[in-house]
Amino acid sequence: MLTMIWPLLAFVVSTTLLQDETPPETPQTVPANEAEASTQDVELDAFDPTFEPVTELVKQVNSEPVSDTVSENVHYRLKVKLDPKAKTIDGSLVLTYTNNSPDEISELQFHLYMNAFKHENTTFAIERGNLVDAGTADEHSYGYVDINELEFNGRHALDRLQYIQPDDGNVHDQTVASISLDEPLQPGSSMDIKCRFITKLPKAIDRTGFHKNTFFAAQWFPKLGVWETAGFHGREEAGWNCHQFHAVSEFYADFGLYDVSITVPADFEVGASGRLVKVDDSATHKTFSFSGERIHDFTWLASSEMVRIPMKFVPKEWVSDAELEAVMSLHGISLDEASLKPVDVILFMAPEHEEQSERHFKAVAQAIKYFGLWYGAYPYTSITCVDPPYGLSEIGGMEYPNLITMGTDWIKPKDERDPDGVTIHEFGHQYWYGMTGSNEFEASWLDEGFNTYSTGLVMAIVHNPIKKYVRFNHLPFEKNALMYMEPYTDFQRSRAQLIRDQGTDSVLRNAWEYKNTESYFNNSYGKAATMLHQLSRELGADAFARAMRIYASQYRYNHPNSHDFQATIEQLSGRDFGWFFEQFIFGHQTIDYAVGEVKSHRYDEAIGFLETENGRVFVTEPDLANPSYLHQITIENGGTGRYPVDIAVRFADGTEQRLQWDGSYRWKKFSLNHASEITEVEIDPDHRIIIDFNSFNNSYRAQADSQVSQKWSLRFLLRIQQILQTLSGVMS
C-alpha cells in the first residue's frame, strides 16, 4: 500500500506543474476537415522535362548565400501531388547530377527508402521484428515507391533498373536500385535523370506515414546515393555509398539544391524543408513551392488538422552582448562571425498541444542560440517544427534538413525532459547531420553522439535538473521519489548508457551491425557523448569547445568521418589521441579500475635480530613508541582497456601521497613506507575518468561504515513488507 502513495503525491504535484498557459503568437488555424480527406482530384503535369526550377526565385528573395565553400552536385526538381484518399504521392523528378569526382561513373544507385515498408520480407521489417502486427494489417498499413518512367539524358532507362542488396543479400529488399548508364559519366560533366514515380505512404510507422488527414512524407522519393572516390574515408575502390534501409540506420546523401512544388487539397497546409517561395491557390487545390539550398534531403508535411504558428527567432532578443563577447574571446573570432541570424520558426502544432507552442518555440530558440554561438550561426532562413498529432507519434523525434519533428504529450510537467530535450536534440541535428553531413549508416556516433553531447550542454543551461515521469492513462506520475533517484542531467543519462553497454560494441560501427537495437542506441548516443565528455576533460573544456567549432566549420556541407574528427582534435592540441580513439571509439575497450587488497605491515612490531642505529639488536618485546609501516596496495583493472590514472593514498596523519599507473596489465601492486596508517585509497581522485564502469570500487576506506547499506536494506525491507502484506491481504 505504501507504493500507492507516491503516484498519488506525484499526481498532486504534477498537476501544479503543467505547461505555460501563455498563448502563442498569432496562430493560424488550418481549417479542420472532420470528414474523410478530400476526394477532389487534380491532374499533375505530365512527365515534364521542361520543369521550371524555382531556385532563381529564392535567390531573389534571399540573395545572401548560406556559405561560400560548398560543393553541390545534385539538383532535385520535384513536382508532386498528394492524393489524401489513396494515400499516395504522384511525382515527377528531374535530377541534375554533376560528377565532381575524377572517376568515370558507369552506373547510378538510388535509395528507394519507402520500399522498406512494402512487405514483411524487407530488411527493415526483418530487423525490426515486423512492420505490422498480424491481424491488424490492411492495405494502408504498407507503403512503397514505384518508378514508372525513367530517362537518362532523354533516353528511356527503366528496363535497366535492378534492385540490389549490398548489405545483406536479402533478395526481397528493394530499397536500393542500380541503373547502368549507356555511356560512363565523365569527370566534371553532368546528366539529367528524369523519372515519374508514385509513392504510397503507409500508416504512420518509423518516421513516415499518415494518420487521418495528416501526411508526413519522409524518405519518399528516389534519392541518389553518394559517389565516393578511391581513398575517400579509406575506400579501396571508387564506388557508390548506397546502403539498404535498415531498422536503425539513417541517411547519407550529397548536398544540393531542391526545388519542390507540392499540390494538395485546398484545405491542407504544407510545411517542408527549404523555404516557402510561393503558394498558388485554386478553388480546389493549393500548390506550395519550396526551395532548399545546401541541404541533402527534403521532407514535407501536409495536414488539414494541424495548427500552423509562424514565429521568429530574433538574435538580439535571445543573445546578450556579454555572451557574444565570450564567444568571440574563446574562439578568437570577429563579432560578425559570432553573430547569429534571424530565423523563421514555423510551428505545426497538434490542436491538442497548441497551448505548448510557446514551450516548443522557447526550446527551438534556445537551440538556435546555443548551437549558433558554439558551432556557427544557423545559416538557413527557416526551421519548420512539427509537433505530431495524436495517433502520429511514430513520426516524432526526427530530423530532416530545415524540418524537425518533436514529441510531447497532452499533459506535460515543466520539469520533465521532453518535449524540450527532444526539440533541442532534433534541432541540433541541423548541425550534426544537417550541415556536417557525416555518413549516418556507417558512423552514427558522428551525428547522434555529437548531438547528444551538444544537447546535454544546452540542457544543462536551460533545463536542469530533470525528473522522470511514468504515464498512467495520460496522467504523469513522478518516478524519482518512488525510485529514490535524484533528478538527473543529460550527462548522467548519457553515462548511464555507457555503463549499460558494458563494452558490447565499439562506438563506431555500421548502424545495422551493432549487436542489437539497445547496443545501437547505447553506443551511438550516450556512450559516444560520454566519450566526447571524456575528450573534453583531456583537452580542457575551452580547448575542446574550440575543437568542436573548428570541426563544425571545417566540415560544414561536407562528409567528414571519425578520422577527420580525430585529426581536428590532434591538430588543435598537438597531441596524439590515437590511443584514445583506437580503444574507445574504434574499439570496444572498457575501463574498470578497482582498489584491490590494501595490506599494512607494521615494522615496529617486529621481533628478532633487528638492525638499528646501534647495530644488531635481538628484540623479543617490540617497541611501539615510533610506529612505521610498509603498505602494499593492489590496484586492479577489470576492464579491457587502459587509461593513465592517478591514485591518492591518504594517511591517518593527514598527509596524502599520489601514485600513477598507466593501466597496463590486470593489476599493479604499490608499496609505500609511511609512519602512519592508511585511512583512504582513491583511484582518480580528481574525477577525471568518467568512462569507468564501476565507481563504487574506485575507493577504499579503512574504517568500514555500514550506515548507507543498512539504510538501503531497511528501505527494501519496509517496501517488501508492505508488498507482502498486500499479497497476504488478498489471501486472508
Partner: protein
C-alpha cells in the same frame, strides 16, 4: 447493522486479537528478512568501504543507478528464483493463517493461539479451494473485460482525434475494472467467511453464499471496502508525512519502528475489515439451497480430502 457500525465493531474485534496480529506480523517480517538479506550482503560488500557510499545515502544519481543495476545483474536471476520460491511459500503460509484468522474474527469467543493454529489447520483446505474458485471467477470476469477494453481502446484510438477521448474512456474502463475486481474480491471474502464462520466446509456452497451475499448487498459491500481503503490510504499518507520528519534525523531504528507500526496497523485494519464484513452480513445472508451451515453440517474431524 450499518456500514459505520460494522466498521467500528470490526475494529473492536480486531483489536481484541493482538496475538493473531503478532503471528501475521512475525510471518511477514521473517519472509521479508529472508528476501532482504542477499541484498544487504551485496550492498554491504559494495558500499561499506567505498567513499562513494555517502553520495547515494538519500537518493541515487541516474548513472550510479545504472552502475548498481550492473552490480545486481548477475545476482538477479538467482535472486528472482529465490524470491519467487519464497513468495509461493509465503502465499501458502498466508492461506494457512487466513483460515485461523477468519475463524477468529467471526467467532464469538477469543481463540487462544493454540486454537488459532488448530482452526488454521482445520479450515486450510476449504479456504484454499474457495480461493481457487475465486481465482477462477476472476479469470472468467476479468480476462474478457480486459480483452474488451483493449479492443474498444484500439478502435477508439483509430477513430479519435484527441487524447482526451482516450483519457476519459480509460478512466471509465478503470472504474469498471475496479468494480469488477471489487466484486470478485468480495465474493471471495464472503465465501471464506462463510466457510469459517459456520463450519461449512463445502467450498462450492460457500462460494455460492459469497456470490449471493455480494449480489444482494452491493452498496454496503462497496461502502465498507471504500471505508477500509480510505483508512489504509490515510494511514499510509500519514506515515509518508512523517518520513520527511524522520529522514533528517537519519535514525534507522525510528524509521524501522514507524514502518512496523504502519504494517501492524494495516494487519489490524485487514482483520477489522473481515470482522466488519461478517457483522454487516451475518444476519442478512440467506443460505443457498445447495448447502449452508444450517443444512449441511460437516463433522469437525471429517477427512480434509472431502472438503470440496
Amino acid at each position: 447493522m450499518n456500514v459505520i457500525k460494522a466498521w467500528g465493531a470490526g475494529w473492536t474485534r480486531s483489536l481484541a486479537l493482538p496475538h493473531i496480529a503478532f503471528i501475521k506480523w512475525i510471518t511477514n517480517s521473517l519472509v521479508a528478512c529472508a528476501l532482504v538479506v542477499p541484498i544487504y550482503v551485496i550492498l554491504s560488500a559494495t558500499l561499506d568501504h567505498s567513499l562513494l557510499a555517502n553520495r547515494i545515502a538519500d537518493a541515487i544519481p541516474m548513472d550510479l543507478y545504472a552502475e548498481l543495476g550492473v552490480l545486481f545483474q548477475d545476482l538477479s536471476p538467482v535472486y528472482m528464483s529465490l524470491a519467487s520460491a519464497i513468495a509461493v511459500l509465503f502465499l501458502l503460509l498466508s492461506l494457512f493463517i487466513s483460515a485461523g484468522t477468519l475463524r477468529a474474527v467471526t467467532a464469538e469467543n477469543r481463540p487462544k493461539t493454540a486454537e488459532f493454529f488448530k482452526d488454521s489447520a482445520q479450515f486450510f483446505i476449504s479456504v484454499t479451494l474457495v480461493t481457487l474458485l475465486s481465482l477462477l471467477l476472476a479469470v472468467i470476469v476479468l480476462v474478457p473485460s480486459i480483452w474488451l477494453f483493449e479492443e474498444l481502446s484500439n478502435r477508439l484510438n483509430d477513430w479519435s482525434k484527441s487524447p482526451q477521448t482516450s483519457f476519459y474512456f480509460g478512466w471509465a474502463a478503470l472504474l469498471v475494472g475496479f468494480i469488477l475486481f471489487t466484486f470478485v474480491a468480495r465474493v471471495s471474502d464472503y465465501a471464506r467467511l462463510a466457510v469459517c464462520s459456520s463450519d461449512q466446509k463445502r467450498s462450492f456452497s460457500a462460494f455460492m453464499v459469497g456470490l449471493k451475499t455480494t449480489w444482494q448487498q452491493p452498496f454496503a459491500t462497496l461502502s465498507l471496502w471504500l471505508l477500509c481503503l480510505a483508512t489504509v490510504a490515510g494511514l499510509v499518507f500519514a506515515s509518508s508525512l512523517l518520513q520527511p520528519v524522520i529522514a533528517p534525523i537519519n535514525n534507522l531504528w525510528l524509521t524501522l519502528a514507524l514502518g512496523q507500526l504502519v504494517l501492524i496497523l494495516r494487519i489490524f485494519a485487514r482483520m477489522a475489515w473481515l470482522a466488519a464484513q461478517h457483522r454487516l452480513t451475518a444476519k442478512k445472508a440467506t443460505p443457498v439451497s445447495i448447502g449452508t451451515a444450517e443444512t449441511i453440517a460437516m463433522p469437525a474431524e471429517a477427512d480434509p480430502a472431502e472438503y470440496y
